[in-house]
Symmetry: C2
Subunit: 152 residues, 2 copies
């Protein structure tokens, strides 16, 4: 079965997206796919360091993330602290039909059962880019005692 279906490994994804396949991009895309929640720049730097590989230049990482966002392989959003967080674009699609809860203490993101609300009708000439129901508060672990998991 040598099907030419949806590519899955980072290199193929990069090729399919039409941007150069560089070691840095492969590593970053791999890290994004392996992450269980959107990562900020600092977390990515740390994450990339654990592999024992050489640390990546800060600016290069920023530019790689931008290039992934530009070609649609990654998504960029801002968290409540005002920091940009990145996620693999594919990972979002499986989360398209329910809403999420974000814990403002530990930063964790939890899937809820509820469907996303329908996008509102806009005035003439307005163009909708994104409509997201942002639900946040404290999760069960962080609500009970006073010690959050990730103080930071």
């Amino acid at each position: 079965m040598a099907s030419a279906s949806i590519p899955s490994n980072p290199a193929d994804l990069l090729r399919a997206a039409g941007i150069k396949v560089t070691p840095g991009r492969v590593r970053v895309l791999q890290a994004l796919h392996g992450a269980r929640q959107p990562l900020c720049h600092g977390e990515m730097e740390a994450q990339l360091g654990v592999d024992g590989e050489a640390a990546m230049d800060r600016v290069t990482l920023y530019r790689i993330l931008d290039s992934l966002v530009a070609c649609g392989l990654a998504l960029k959003a801002v968290d409540t602290r005002g920091v940009f967080r990145f996620s693999a674009a594919g990972a979002q699609r499986q989360h398209a039909n329910h809403i999420h809860f974000r814990c403002t203490d530990c930063g964790g993101v939890f899937c809820l059962k509820a469907e996303p609300p329908p996008p509102p009708t806009l005035p003439e000439g307005f163009r909708l880019r994104r409509a997201e129901f942002d639900v946040c508060g404290t999760c069960d672990r962080c609500s009970g005692d006073t010690t959050p998991l990730v103080p930071r």
Copy 2:
């Protein structure tokens, strides 16, 4: 009619909130009430300068804003660029029963006719702090031609 009802001028609000009434806080709270959309730190600095009054120290402004948030007189949120924006707490209530559209080009915020979606039911132990329907894209002025109002 010397009623002791809801205070409305900045000084009374500050007194009622239990924090010291300083000229800086009065000016900032006044600016927040006069604003038609949440202001970031830089916009507030500019806004405060127009009165012909002496410019306020950057750090003092940050601390005043924090104190207003801490006592509940102001609200702090982060915009899509990752910048904190502040609004008078009272000003929110008149916008509580409809949702808003944010133009990602010019930064403008527009009131829509639609009602906010009901908050979802959460798993056991979770505590809801805020549920906001974030609807963004480009407004009529910014959608048509290619020149946004506030390029920045």
